[in-house]
């Protein structure tokens, strides 16, 4: 009674998963580049303090405002601190802020969105209004307001960034769950004895995740920009902490006098990091979607 002439394929295992990742990465060279850069920045964030050639906080006014040279690849700032070291160490802070904010936002937002999309009715209305309220504000202004009200600290930057990113996750997960809510496999899951919570968590959410991966990745880039922006205007990370936004702010005043390197290098790093995250999103989604596995 068995189906005849079945192709003898081995069951997919870890080797196939790795092959799949390699395929996705190499299929599109841009994705490969993005993965590479991301890996690089990740290493920087993890091991920054040990890699940095100089102490980022140590000031030495004798070498202040020196242009890029063999001793200081990215030059020094007004207090004689090595810019390269400060950039490397700032990676940890900025990444930390971005990851915390985005994941807080992601978990809360997608939980709310899933509930709204699954149950509809009042929960949908209330959650929708919460999202709308947040979106009614120019987001950066809202972040400024939150930090200004609660005080300058890294924790508050994370909180503000998380809040302003909530609506995206709420909306994306709500729509994705709504579309899949009546799918055959959801009904089949009910017949198999799943409760609503199990259906949401085990059946719907894993299928909703791939479309959200792009969102998460883009968000990481924005979160870093947001943190840098807040610090740039003085709300957020305080000197002498090394943070890309603060460094750009510090360097801005020196551009006119010709010390271009103080703002340029942190700015270029910011740009590269955001770029990497944007490209990463597509690649991540391809990896997670079992349908691109063949």
């Amino acid at each position: 009674m068995s189906a005849p002439a079945v192709e003898k394929l081995t069951a997919p295992g870890w080797r196939d998963t790795w092959k799949h990742i390699r395929y996705v990465a190499t299929d599109n060279p841009v994705t490969l580049g993005a993965f590479g850069l991301f890996g690089f920045f990740l290493l920087l964030a993890l091991f920054g303090p040990w890699i940095a050639p100089y102490d980022p906080l140590m000031s030495d006014t004798t070498v202040a405002l020196k242009p890029p040279s063999a001793a200081h690849w990215f030059g020094t700032d007004s207090l004689g601190r090595d810019i390269l070291s400060r950039i490397i160490v700032a990676a940890q802070l900025d990444f930390g802020i971005a990851v915390s904010a985005v994941f807080a936002s992601f978990f809360l937002g997608s939980a709310l969105g899933c509930l709204a999309g699954f149950y509809g009715g009042w929960s949908d209305r209330i959650i929708g209004r919460i999202a709308d309220t947040i979106m009614a504000f120019p987001l950066f202004v809202l972040a400024m307001g939150i930090v200004a009200a609660l005080g300058n600290s890294v924790a508050n930057i994370i909180l503000a960034t998380a809040i302003i990113n909530l609506p995206f996750y709420i909306r994306v997960s709500r729509t994705e769950v709504n579309v899949r809510r009546n799918a055959g496999y959801v009904e089949a899951a009910r017949l198999a004895g799943n409760s609503d919570v199990r259906i949401l968590a085990l059946h719907l959410f894993p299928n909703v995740l791939p479309p959200m991966m792009v969102q998460i990745s883009l968000n990481m880039g924005w979160a870093i920009l947001n943190a840098a922006g807040l610090s740039f205007i003085g709300l957020g990370v305080r000197p002498p902490q090394a943070e890309w936004g603060i460094m750009v702010a510090e360097g801005a005043t020196y551009i006119i006098s010709g010390e271009w390197w103080i703002a340029l290098f942190p700015g270029a790093t910011l740009m590269l990091v955001v770029f990497t995250f944007n490209l990463l999103g597509d690649g991540l989604r391809d990896i997670l979607d079992p349908r691109t596995r063949t």
């Binding site: 189906a3 005849p4 002439a5 299929d27 063949t294």
Partner: protein, 324 residues
């Protein structure tokens, strides 16, 4: 058939698709002929290439499609060599097409009356002032009840059957000489199907319009087509007049297909099935006969030698080394 040249002639048409996972050999050496006013059924299962063929005839294939060989001639015009501007004169005006899912084939945010007017405006010389009247006339011809009111309806207000009638109205607005109907009744209720098929065949008869009916439903094809072409995995395996095909199918696939179709006389134990699956069309080592692996009459040549074309009486053609 009279000695007249056929209206549509597809000869040795081969088509490939370049995809991320390889080249799909979608069609190979397909030959089809449709005479003026004739109804030809193209029957096959999913993956047989029947829809791809119809898109190929109209040259509306995906950019990844590559014609490897063959020719398509319609009313004397070389379809494969023609320029896009010439093809646009043909599509919708000389050759019309109706699709499987009528609701999605219509523009959901445009009233159906306006959609019919679009076709009339593009392809005919109807005066602006006359458009609405003609559109309502088209609706009446496809037997939509209350056409004046339905003129202002949106597709979502209509049932599946009514949407299909609107599609038929759209395609017949310019009196084409060939109508390609790609699974026009799949997804419709059986009573609606009967009404739609009756409508199409009556209109085709009245206008002496040739029709290509693409379907997976053998019984449907048997009732409405003069001739039937059976396709499998991108090949035309058999073509014959309807009566001859069912009286004596010559290709093993055709015979098995007929035996797998439930009908009132057949009981479950005598219902046949076809073992195996379609071959992966991305392979470069496909056997010459793509039914080879699933065929119980396969002989040694089937996999390796180019398929012959065997002709039986009255134009009954089979591509097989061991026909029934």
């Amino acid at each position: 058939m009279s000695g007249e040249a056929p209206l549509l002639s597809v000869k040795d048409y081969s088509l490939e698709f370049r995809t991320r996972s390889g080249t799909v050999h979608a069609l190979e050496d397909v030959c089809i002929e449709v005479a003026k006013g004739e109804t030809v059924g193209i029957v096959g299962e999913s993956g047989s290439g029947k829809s791809v063929l119809s898109f190929g005839i109209l040259r509306i294939l995906d950019a990844a499609a590559e014609v490897k060989s063959g020719s398509i001639s319609f009313a004397g015009m070389d379809m494969l060599g023609a320029k896009e501007s010439a093809l646009q004169q043909v599509r919708g005006r000389e050759i019309a097409m109706i699709f499987q899912n009528p609701r999605t084939a219509l523009n959901p945010i445009r009233k159906i009356g306006k959609q019919i007017e679009d076709v009339l405006r593009t392809h005919t010389s109807t005066l602006q002032s006359d458009l609405k009247r003609k559109a309502i006339e088209c609706l009446a011809q496809v037997r939509i009840a209350d056409p004046e009111r339905r003129y202002s309806a949106y597709p979502f207000e209509l049932s599946g059957g009514q949407c299909q009638r609107v599609m038929i109205a759209l395609s017949l607005a310019c009196n084409p000489s060939l109508l390609i109907a790609d699974e026009p009744t799949t997804g419709l209720d059986v009573t609606t199907q009967a009404a739609i098929m009756e409508l199409v065949s009556e209109l085709a008869r009245a206008r002496n319009m040739a029709t290509i009916l693409i379907t997976h439903d053998l019984a449907l094809a048997s009732e409405y087509c003069d001739r039937i072409v059976v396709m499998h995995a991108g090949h035309v395996v058999e073509s014959a007049s309807t009566a001859t095909l069912f009286a004596q199918p010559r290709h093993p696939y055709t015979a098995r297909l007929i035996a797998s179709t439930p009908s009132p006389e057949v009981d479950i134990d005598s219902l046949s099935s076809i073992p195996g699956n379609l071959p992966d069309l991305r392979r470069n080592d496909l056997p010459k006969c793509r039914f080879h692996a699933r065929c119980d009459r396969a002989v040694a040549q089937c996999a390796v030698q180019a398929l012959p074309e065997v002709t039986f009486e009255s134009g009954h053609r089979v591509r097989c080394f061991n026909p029934l």
